[in-house]
Amino acid sequence: MNPLILTLLQVIVVLAVAPLAVGLVRFYKARLQGRHGAAPWLPYYTYLTLLKKENVISSSSSWMLRAAPYAVLGSAVFMAIVLPLVSVGGIAASLSNFILVAAILALGSAFLVMGGLDVGSAFGGMGSSREMTIASLLESTILLTFAAFAVVSGVSTIDGMISGDALTAITVISDPYLLLPVIALILIALAENARYPVDNPATHLELTMVHEAMILDYSGPYLAMMEYASALKLTVFMLLVTNFLLPYPLLLSASGAGDVVLVILVVLAKIVVASFALAILESTIAKMRFYRVQEYLTGAFFIALSGLALTLLSTTLL
């Protein structure tokens, strides 16, 4: 298939399933907690409703309030375009260099933080301060995690790390020492997406919130963009983690039209499984007190560091 078509298919599929992923997590959590819960496709309806609502702009804000939704959503869309989520070898694959991806991720966080500070409420400031702390301390973990994959695969583009082919794929089973980097990646995904145990995405209580505090003063279309951006980011990370665990089947330049249906079904299955796993996790563990998050971040850092060390050791010895 043409690289352009590969990328287009990926973007369409990821953008389409993003609200479903959020809805599914909420649905499973409700069921696990003994509630009936809303239908998994409620987020589609919510976002569409928000788009029609009036946009209320804070009188103390500047251009940053207007720029932030575009930058935050843009950062998430950039991920959905360049990373190997549904297809491998797309047209923008060369932009999936992991250092660049980490920087774009951080750029999105920076704008989210600045947007949160712009309205001048204490809530926004608190959420921003916390988010900035988490995002900046995660940077090192992200680099070390992907450096381990880069050493094994010999390339630094995330697209190249996932081959999408059962014969050449680098998996946790073929290279067991990659287990640590994969665990680190899961920890990164939880922290980056403001999930348990770092943040509680369900509450609006000042003691617990990070992400929600920053978007408190957005409304209408801007709120839709912010919510959609976080849904998209969650989906991107779900697919990325599952792809590192099971790097096939994905759409390749060699695949035909028949594979498209199969791969889309697999993607849906991955989302269903990943959101169930996330719901189980969020129902069984408690959220950490914010000032203990450093322990979580330090843990993630050392898992990533030992993952890279073990990888280097193994590749040198074997």
Partner: protein, 667 residues
């Protein structure tokens, strides 16, 4: 252009500084503008000439007449020093352009003709360091640079400036002393031999003498570059100078120290011992980590920028250290990438730091304070200015697609690429450096977001900030040019790498079906232009979609959601509160002390109290390293002062004794 024309161009730029210094002393109102315009013109000529030298094949030698003017010394500009000369000229243009409107606002604070003369001489001194070809000339111009900058630090005559200035004077002279001693050892006591022949002298030194010389030179250049733990003067002295001089000091003077260090390491010694590379890497890492942590803690905008300079210089020294390690281990590609990353980061840092320091001058003149706690809300009042500052701050945090990102990408990519096939020892070192580098990059974003957001966003925290208005174009232009420069540095990185001589790091590659010159480091291609195109395309598409899907007119302005009670600026997050998590997480190393004093309003109810919080962030280095040294020295001096008993005969005897001891030692 011919070599002779280039030599004339450099000479004009060099002597133009002296002319500008002379013009500045004319006691007329127009002297200020004329002097700065002369600086701009001369630096422009110097920039053009230096760029031609960089892209040419060889360096230029300045006309022989110049030789007789200054201690019978040859002045040359080779391709290596031309990079720094071009940088100096570029920053000189920006700061002089800014000085015209900026200083006119401060006629009461500064003596304009003195400041202009000293600034011109300051640039002259830095140019001289770059043009010098022997130790004597190098040190003479080094001193001109140090002394003029000292006078510029104390230019406003306040007590704080004097204290900072004297600390700076002491440190810079300790450094200069170490440099002279180091050069003496390296050149085997002949300060007049040409730099190109120092290598022959230093090749014959014993390993111990070479080590000693290198240690002295590292201290000398490191203290000027603000490496931790020799950095204590930098956050005191840089912010006290007028803002355009702060820009010159942080943007260029630190790079002159870097130039001197690189000149010695790359061209004057046969090779460096193992311990030396380790020390360079460790000092670099220390500077990067402590620089960025203090930048996060700091509330004074100019001190934030000064600490960020320490961090960036730290990164550069780490890169140099890795280059030295790699070339020792035989991985030439990593060494080359690291050296070019150093130079690229030096150029990029000069640009964004100048832009930010000039912007800080504008911010300070708007709110009359350097504290973030009285700013806020400036973005609403100066939108265009705030956009420029925001972009510069993001560039400073090494965000794509700006120049600093390219430098860090080159370095990190080369390290990751080298990880698989280097010796185990180097592997461990690279992993540690990679981890700390990621940590520093993340925290740098924290510091820069704090710098921008607390100053420009939310509601104004003081009446001055409330009345701020968009600065005049004269104030905006230099910062904007710096922003444009740092953006172009990112976008045209492949072409610029070729001009700088890093052909091996650039390749003609096929990216996304388009053939182009791209950065090519350890098998990975990066096309910076494509990053910007992708970013613009994505955001542009979103803007378009928003217009198509939603009704843009359905919008109203209303106060921030306030739970029924009006929000005042006092409820906003302050800079101190914003950095609280980092302060808490790193309290082991930062040792900031928070003291909350609660005075009960009603004696019977302890909960109704007025609380006062003070936060003291002591400099660990000053308290633990410099204070004991200082008290020790004073004690020794106290003991020695007993010798001062007023009897002339005794003093004469001491002189005689000193003479005899000296002769014995010398013979």
């Amino acid at each position: 252009m011919t070599e002779y024309q280039l030599a004339i161009g450099i000479t004009v730029a060099f002597l133009g500084m002296l002319l500008a210094a002379g013009v500045a002393l004319i006691p007329r109102a127009w002297a200020h503008r004329l002097s700065n315009l002369l600086l701009v013109t001369a630096n422009l000529i110097g920039l053009v000439a230096a760029v031609f030298v960089i892209t040419g094949q060889e360096g230029v030698v300045l006309p022989a007449q110049m030789q007789h003017l200054f201690f019978d010394m040859r002045f040359t500009l080779d391709r290596f020093s031309a990079i720094f000369f071009a940088l100096l000229s570029l920053i000189g243009i920006l700061t002089s352009l800014y000085a015209i409107p900026y200083l006119e606002r401060y006629t009461g604070t500064y003596n304009l003709s003195n400041v202009n003369m000293l600034t011109a001489l300051f640039i002259f001194g830095m140019q001289g360091v770059l043009l010098a070809t022997n130790v004597l000339g190098f040190m003479a111009f080094w001193e001109i640079m140090s002394i003029t900058s000292f006078f510029l630090v104390v230019a406003d005559g306040t007590e704080a400036s004097r204290r900072a200035g004297f600390l700076y004077l002491v440190m810079t002279h300790l450094g200069a002393g170490a440099l002279i001693a180091g050069f003496f050892l390296l050149t085997n006591n002949s300060l007049l031999i040409d730099f190109n022949t120092v290598l022959y002298a230093s090749s014959e030194l014993s390993p111990f003498t070479l080590s000693l010389a290198l240690a002295l030179l590292l201290f000398g250049f490191g203290s000027k570059a603000g490496l931790v733990p020799f950095h204590v003067w930098l956050p005191e002295a840089h912010p006290q100078a007028p803002s355009h001089v702060s820009a010159l000091m942080s943007g260029v003077m630190l790079k002159i120290a870097l130039y001197g260090f690189l000149r010695v390491i790359l061209f004057m010694v046969p090779g460096v011992p193992q311990w030396f590379t380790t020390v360079v890497v460790v000092l670099g890492l220390l500077s990067a980590v402590f620089g960025v942590l203090y930048a996060i803690l700091e509330r004074d905008i100019k001190r934030i920028l000064a600490y960020s300079s320490i961090e960036n210089l730290g990164l550069m020294f780490v890169m140099i250290g890795v280059a030295l390690l790699a070339s020792r281990e035989g991985s030439g590609e990593l060494a080359q990438a690291a050296i070019f990353a150093t130079i690229y980061l030096a150029i990029a840092h000069a640009l964004f730091k100048t832009g930010l320091f000039l912007a800080s001058g504008t911010m300070i003149s708007a709110v009359h304070s350097r504290s973030l706690e009285v700013m806020g809300g400036l973005a609403q009042r100066m939108p265009y200015f705030s956009m420029v500052v925001c972009a510069l701050a993001l560039a400073a945090a090494a965000m794509p697609p700006f120049g600093p990102f390219i430098a860090e990408w080159t370095f990190m990519q080369a390290m990751v690429g080298a990880l698989a096939d280097v010796t185990p020892m180097l592997k461990v070192t690279l992993v540690v450096i990679l981890a700390i580098l990621g940590f520093v990059t993340g925290l740098a974003l924290f510091a820069m977001v704090k710098f921008y957001a607390l100053a420009f966003l939310a509601q104004p925290r003081s009446s001055e900030a409330k009345e701020a208005t968009e600065p005049h174009l004269n104030f905006l232009l230099p910062s904007f040019l710096a922003f444009a420069g740092v953006l172009l540095l990112g976008l045209f990185a492949p072409q610029l790498f070729v001009s700088l001589g890093a052909m091996a790091l650039v390749s003609e590659a096929d990216v996304s079906g388009l053939a182009n010159e791209v950065l090519f480091v350890s098998g990975e291609a990066l096309w910076p232009f494509m990053i910007l195109v992708a970013m613009i395309a994505v955001v542009g598409m979103l803007v378009l979609l928003r217009r198509l899907v939603t009704d843009l007119k359905k919008e109203r302005v209303y106060q921030t959601w306030d739970c029924g009670q009006p929000i005042t600026p006092r409820m906003e997050y302050t800079a101190t509160a914003f950095s609280a998590p980092i302060r808490a997480f790193f309290r082991m190393v930062l040792r900031a002390q928070k003291v909350v004093v609660a005075t009960p309003i009603v004696p019977t109810n302890p909960w109704m109290a007025s609380r006062e919080m003070t936060l003291e962030a002591h400099s660990v280095w000053y308290e633990r390293l410099y204070r004991p040294l200082q008290t020790g020295l004073l004690k020794v001096a106290g003991v020695l002062s007993r010798l001062q008993n007023g009897s002339i005969q005794f003093y004469v005897g001491l002189v005689l004794l000193a003479l005899i001891v000296t002769i014995i030692v010398a013979l």
